[in-house]
């Protein structure tokens, strides 16, 4: 059958718009997903390398579960690795290999001249060959105090410049300039190895080889290492892109799933309303010889005829939306700068297919109503709304609400990732339950709210109350999306706000320092902490080195590998950090030891051993020395600073905690400022300024949830409007009659409006109830008190 104008009227318009927007959203996050799966950081410094040898990009662990086969679980490593330079020897023996370069990489800050404070990456001059980099003027660095700078740094050949690596700024002589390429500075190889802090190891081995060199031979010559070629070489240059991949997969599937579910609830309501409205048409079809299956097929076919163009247009638009989303997320710092956009028709096709399949399922569900249409209804004068609620609806709805409430109990007892996961499941099952029970809720709402309305406006209010009560199934289709959008938006925004506030509060409470040394560049050189230690009046100095640690945890019986934010704490940690330990103490955090937050401790005893993977992928067995409560503020894992520094790409600390004996004297503060001034980009700040910087960092998370709320909330609102329009349209005859028998036009309009107030109000109250349950549960396990934080206004930061 051909599509017709009438197909795009009434419910179909609402179905069309809702499905179009849902497809756009699913496809947009699909673009993000595909970019995450396929995009590599751009290959710049390694562009001339035939292959780049590095350690595996992910860490793996064989997990054994009762009753199933052992399975490998993986997580990405987040930091540049350390490879012994000696590993290059065997690669050099491979036929066709001309040279193997041990590439080192370390952050560098310019400390003099017009570009002071600019961040460069430092390398040995031998690495320049990997990127076909040659000096545009001058010559290569040879002496230990010589350097080649990018032309953009503004220096001239022969000039002396001050550069700061992991110590105080040092004077170097510029021997050459590089015209193009990334912002990198090149030293004599020996100097570079020294400055990287780890002489004898490299972050990657670049292989310069003829085209006949076989990749298989290279692999054989690098046992235990990974050989990257083509665009994958970019991953070795910047592991941050590969590191966000699993998060992107989780995010995209989570948002895609939620928006699809929301769309289906709206579309399900619209199709149900449509089927109800057409029940006479279906009865006529049945009377003239259509089997129930044929009528059902017609309902499904009609839905698909609307869904197909919606999904096709939505799929096409989703590519543009995905590109826009990617750009916005990169601007806001949610995505690392090297996270490139990968565009292909795949997300558009996938979102089209997903939308169509989902619509098919919902349409089949809606067509079940047709079974209740008796052919004799074709003889009836009017199509009255059947007042009964199907038993399967009540049972399914009650089961889903019960399941949602029981997960509420579960999330109150457990904590951490399990609780967070059960929370979203709980909201979904509550909402689908509400959708099923909506006619009953509508009837209840008509009684309670209708009573109030009837008191306020005797004539129109009573009419409205009767209309709302007699058309409970119709009202149910309207109130469900209202409840959905309110519950969803409140839970999403309040949930993030609650977690953020709790994180800020915990971070502040866990900080016992009076002053913090912070950096506006890549980090605080380790020399700074040593220098501060000598300042009179300072009793404790703790350098803090952040990283990401991968650790196996048991979740609902399964062992999963998870990435956790972690901190390396230097000396005096017990004096500067108050982790609120419940077992053990931070004093013992030395050597190969670990302190765990209660969320990840999983009942670990002091002195027991835990397996974990450090930033560069090194597997260690650490002794548990403490269990603490402030996991949100400090991260879930605390390690000795020296252990972390030995296994992260950058030798720089993130900040240094400084505590005075009693309140800091003005002399001490001045002395601290003087120490900070010896390092470029380093400042000493007080607690207030430090706390503000921490919460600003956290705000990036809010941005994403605001986008999600705006997008999903937006199309659900479209659903609300169209559903309401259809619900009113299906009563046109009744309203005309009301007008004919003597109601003034104003009274008719007033009663329609008040009916809307009753129905939408019931939906709003239902949504608030679901949101209240969920956010209180969240607040309980995040902060221990049942008080969620109010969300901040969207898009104002």
């Amino acid at each position: 059958m051909r599509p017709r104008r009438s197909d795009f009227q009434g419910a179909s318009l609402g179905v069309f718009v809702t499905l179009l927007l849902a497809t756009v959203l699913v496809g947009a996050f699909g673009v993000l997903l595909e970019s995450g799966l396929r995009a590599h950081a751009p290959t710049e410094r390694y562009q001339a390398a035939r292959a780049v040898v590095t350690t595996p990009a992910r860490v793996g662990l064989l997990t054994k579960e009762v009753g199933s086969k052992p399975k490998m679980k993986y997580r990405p490593r987040t930091e540049l690795p350390r490879i012994p330079v000696s590993a290059a020897d065997r690669l050099r023996q491979v036929p066709g290999v001309r040279a193997v370069v041990a590439d080192v990489s370390f952050p560098l800050v310019t400390a003099s001249g017009p570009s002071a404070g600019a961040v460069l990456s430092g390398h040995g001059w031998d690495s320049a060959a990997l990127g076909r980099i040659a000096p545009s003027s001058g010559r290569a660095p040879q002496a230990p105090d010589e350097v080649v700078l990018p032309a953009s740094a503004g220096a001239k050949v022969g000039q002396a410049v001050r550069l700061q690596a992991n110590g105080a700024p040092t004077v170097y002589r510029v021997t050459g300039l590089v015209g193009s390429g990334p912002a990198a500075a090149y030293f004599a190889p020996g100097t570079a190895a020294e400055l990287s802090g780890h002489p004898g190891s490299a972050s990657a081995l670049g292989v310069l080889a003829d085209h006949d060199a076989k990749i298989g031979d290279l692999r054989a010559a690098a046992p235990g290492l990974t050989v990257l070629t083509g665009s994958a070489r970019g991953d070795a240059e910047d592991p941050s892109v590969a590191a966000v991949r699993p998060d992107m997969i989780e995010l995209a599937s989570g948002v895609g799933g939620t928006s699809l579910m929301a769309a289906l609830i709206v579309v399900g309501g619209l199709l149900g309303l449509q089927a109800r409205r057409r029940s006479r048409e279906y009865a006529l079809l049945r009377a003239v010889g259509a089997t129930p299956g044929q009528v059902r097929g017609r309902v499904v076919q009609e839905a698909l005829r609307t869904a197909l163009p919606a999904a096709a247009i939505g799929g096409a638009l989703s590519l543009a939306a995905g590109a826009a989303l990617h750009a916005a997320m990169r601007d806001k710092g949610v995505l690392p700068p090297g996270f490139a956009l990968a565009l292909s028709p795949l997300p558009a096709l996938a979102s089209l297919a997903i939308t169509l399949v989902a619509t098919l399922l919902v349409a089949l569900l809606a067509s079940l109503r047709v079974s209740g249409v008796r052919p004799a209804q074709a003889l009836g004068e009017t199509a009255a709304d059947p007042s009964g609620v199907a038993r399967w609806r009540v049972i399914a709805g009650a089961l889903l609400v019960a399941a949602g409430l029981s997960t509420l109990g579960l999330s109150l007892k457990t904590s951490g990732a399990v609780a967070a996961a059960s929370l979203s499941g709980m909201i979904m099952s509550l909402m689908i339950g509400v959708a099923f029970l909506s006619p009953l809720i509508a009837r209840l709402g008509a009684q309670v709210l209708g009573g109030v309305v009837a008191l306020l406006a005797p004539v129109t209010g009573r009419l409205a109350r009767q209309a709302a009560a007699s058309a409970a199934p119709r009202a149910g289709a309207v109130l469900t999306p209202v409840a959905l959008v309110i519950a969803f938006a409140l839970v999403q925004l309040t949930g993030v706000a609650t977690i953020m506030d709790a994180t800020s509060a915990q971070a502040s409470a866990a900080n016992r320092a009076d002053r913090m040394l912070v950096s506006s560049g890549p980090g605080v050189p380790s020399g700074a902490a040593e220098a501060v230690r000598g300042v009179p009046g300072v009793t404790a100095v703790t350098p803090v080195h952040r990283t990401t640690v991968v650790m196996p945890v048991r979740e609902v019986g399964d062992v999963e590998l998870r990435s956790y934010p972690a901190r390396g704490l230097g000396a005096d940690a017990s004096k500067t950090v108050d982790a609120k330990t419940t077992k053990g103490g931070l004093d013992a955090l030395t050597g190969t030891s670990v302190a765990l937050s209660k969320d990840v401790a999983g009942g670990a005893r002091i002195g027991s051993s835990r397996t974990l993977f450090l930033g560069d992928g090194t597997k260690i067995n650490a002794r548990v020395v403490a269990v603490y409560e402030r996991g949100l503020g400090l991260g879930d894992i605390l390690l000795p600073r020296d252990l972390v520094a030995a296994h992260t790409g950058s030798p720089l600390d993130d900040h240094v905690l400084v505590r005075c004996s009693g309140p800091c004297s003005p002399e001490t503060l001045r002395a601290l400022d003087a120490v900070a001034a010896r390092f470029t980009g380093v400042r000493a700040v007080d607690r207030a300024a430090f706390g503000e910087a921490t919460s600003r960092e956290l705000r990036t998370q809010e941005f994403l949830s605001q986008i999600i709320v705006a997008a999903i909330g937006g199309f659900v609102l479209v659903g609300v409007v169209t559903t309401r329009l259809l619900a009113v349209a299906s009563r046109r005859r009744e309203l005309t009659l009301l007008h004919k028998v003597g109601a003034t036009r104003a009274q008719v309009r007033g009663s329609v409006r008040l009916e809307g107030v009753i129905v939408l109000g019931t939906g709003a109250i239902t949504g608030l109830a679901v949101a209240a349950l969920a956010t209180v549960a969240l607040a309980m396990f995040v902060t221990g008190t049942p008080v969620p934080s109010p969300p901040s206004l969207p898009f104002v930061h």
Binding site: R4, S6, D7, R280, E281, L284, L285, R286, A287, V288, G289, A290, T291, P292, Q294, R374, P375, A376, A378, L379, E381
Partner: protein, 258 residues
């Protein structure tokens, strides 16, 4: 069925149901339909002769609609048996009953006879299309020609007058060449001239094509087109009037309604 088939009188059929060689088109045997405590039909037995035009009349609430629904297989009686030809409807499952309605029965209702989103040709072809068979366009054109709407094939129901809509409905009812056409107040919403045209077409279906027509109506004029009029009251058949005229129907009607 042909024109020259001897048409037995209703009396003959009803007095000798078991021994009739030519089976009645529709037969009800002690049919009762109860809604809770209310008996809308109360033990009704009747046989409609093939090729006959019977009107069913009665005051509101007399059970006319229930009678039509049970006789046509739209509804199932609480007790008793309904035959269409030699098929016992009570023995048919829902799918078979649907197929029987599609193939052997035509329906014309008072209103909402046509699917608004389909044009005239598609509405008429609906029973054929639902049967899954190939739609013979000549047949559609012929039946539309019979009701005088051959030139309106591409019109939508909303573009037609009430009388034209009912003629399309009649064409749809006749397109499968059914044994029986059930009509429920088909002229109820039409002006007398338009109504006459629809009734003439039904009369033609009986006289020319030999089809059986059962017409439920309030209207003595409509009833006067029939061969015989049944009067229903309180769920029972109370009278039969053969060769009705408007005057005789009105006279009986007063008797029933009194």
């Amino acid at each position: 069925m042909a024109d020259d088939l001897p048409v037995p009188s209703v009396d003959d059929v009803n007095s000798a149901m078991t021994s009739m060689p030519a089976a009645p088109a529709v037969r009800l045997d002690s049919v009762t339909r109860a809604y809770g405590q209310v008996r809308a039909l109360d033990g009704v037995s009747w046989a409609f002769p093939p090729g006959g035009f019977t009107a069913v009349m009665g005051p509101s609430g007399s059970g006319k609609s229930t009678f039509l629904q049970c006789a046509s297989g739209l509804d199932r009686p609480t007790s008793g048996t309904v035959w269409i030809g030699d098929t016992d409807l009570g023995r048919l499952r829902e799918a078979a009953l649907t197929r029987l309605r599609r193939e052997r029965i035509g329906f014309v209702f008072q209103a909402f006879n046509l699917i608004p989103s389909m044009d005239v040709e598609e509405n008429v072809a609906l029973p054929l299309r639902l049967g899954g068979g190939r739609v013979d366009r000549d047949r559609i054109a012929a039946v539309l020609g019979r009701v005088g709407l051959a030139d309106r094939m591409r019109s939508r129901p909303s573009e037609l007058s009430g009388g034209q809509q009912q003629r399309v409905a009649l064409a749809r009812a006749l397109v499968t060449e059914p044994e029986v056409v059930f009509a429920d107040e088909p002229t109820g919403a039409l002006d007398p001239r338009t109504a006459r045209e629809v009734l003439r077409l039904m009369r033609e279906a009986v006289d020319v094509a030999g089809q059986t027509v059962v017409l439920v109506t309030h209207d003595p004029v409509a009833a006067s087109w029939a061969d015989s009029v049944l009067f229903l009251d309180g769920g029972r058949i109370v009278e039969e009037l053969r060769s009705p005229t408007v005057a005789s129907v009105l006279a009986r009607w007063d008797g029933v309604a009194a």
